[in-house]
């Protein structure tokens, strides 16, 4: 049994978006735009990934935002082990989903003795 965040469809979308460039840090609205999720759904997912140790977050460098005259952003990226763990978890989830339709054949059929 692997410990990790619950992989809902939305969580999978976020993980896949981050896996396209695991080393690149992105901020919340970037990830929301790529996944199509609203920020209200995205932030709890990112919080779960952080608590699982897959993702880390940090504040933007002051030199980058002070010149632009805007508030600092929060960036998210995979940890050193997080990307690999996420890939394995996704692969397991995909295999589980592939086997799930077979369970339907166990349901009783009408007319059976």
């Amino acid at each position: 049994m692997t410990m990790g965040p619950r992989l809902t469809a939305q969580t999978v979308a976020v993980v896949r978006a981050l896996l396209t460039e695991p080393a690149k840090a992105r901020w919340g609205r970037d990830i929301a735009a790529e996944t199509g999720l609203k920020s209200g759904s995205l932030h709890p997912i990112l919080a779960r990934l952080e608590r699982a140790g897959w993702v880390e977050s940090y504040w933007e460098d002051p030199a980058e935002h002070e010149d632009a005259g805007r508030p600092r952003r929060r960036y998210y990226r995979f940890t050193s082990d997080g990307a690999e763990t996420a890939r394995l978890a996704l692969a397991e989830a995909t295999q589980s989903a592939a086997h799930a339709p077979a369970l339907g054949r166990l349901s009783p059929q009408s007319g059976c003795a």
Binding site: M1, T2, M3, G4, P5, R6, L7, G28, R29, K38, S39, G40, S41, L42, H43, P44, A47, R48, R51, A52, R70, P71, R72, R73, R74, A89
Partner: protein
Amino acid sequence: MKAAIWLHMRMDAEMASSGSNRKGSELETPVDDAARVVDGPSVVGVVASRRGVIVRPVTVVFPAAAAIGLTGVIATGTDVALAVASAAFAVASTVIAGADVRRNVRLLPGAGGAVLLRGAAGLLPGWAACRYREEWAGELYDLRAEGASWWRRAGYILGILLCGVPKLAVGLRLGGERSRA
């Protein structure tokens, strides 16, 4: 919302009629020659806005109805005056309330929206409240800087308030991750 209207309905009805219709030992046709006094439903209007609190006890319904001739009571000059005053009060309070609401609604995705997000972040654990308060304010600022429409910014705020904050408030406090059993 900075304006609110409290309405208090008070139903009073009293009718005064002339005295008995008995004259001697015979009953006569009742003659009601006294003025009928009917005090209909009263409305106390309270409008609170940034312009102050306006409290007016106003008898609305009956004087207006009497003035229009919808009742059997002949409208007096006082009824007509009350009807006009109550209508003016209703219009004025609606305008004040509407103006304040419109003003606040225009401000909502801006300064008001940031205030809402800051307040909502207070529901989160202490260490998370500061962080998300700043993070959401920054995202809202960027939305405004990009020229996002009022509706889009309002949708962002509502999404955070209705979805993000409750999930984070529970998830961050429960702690731990759920095993994928």
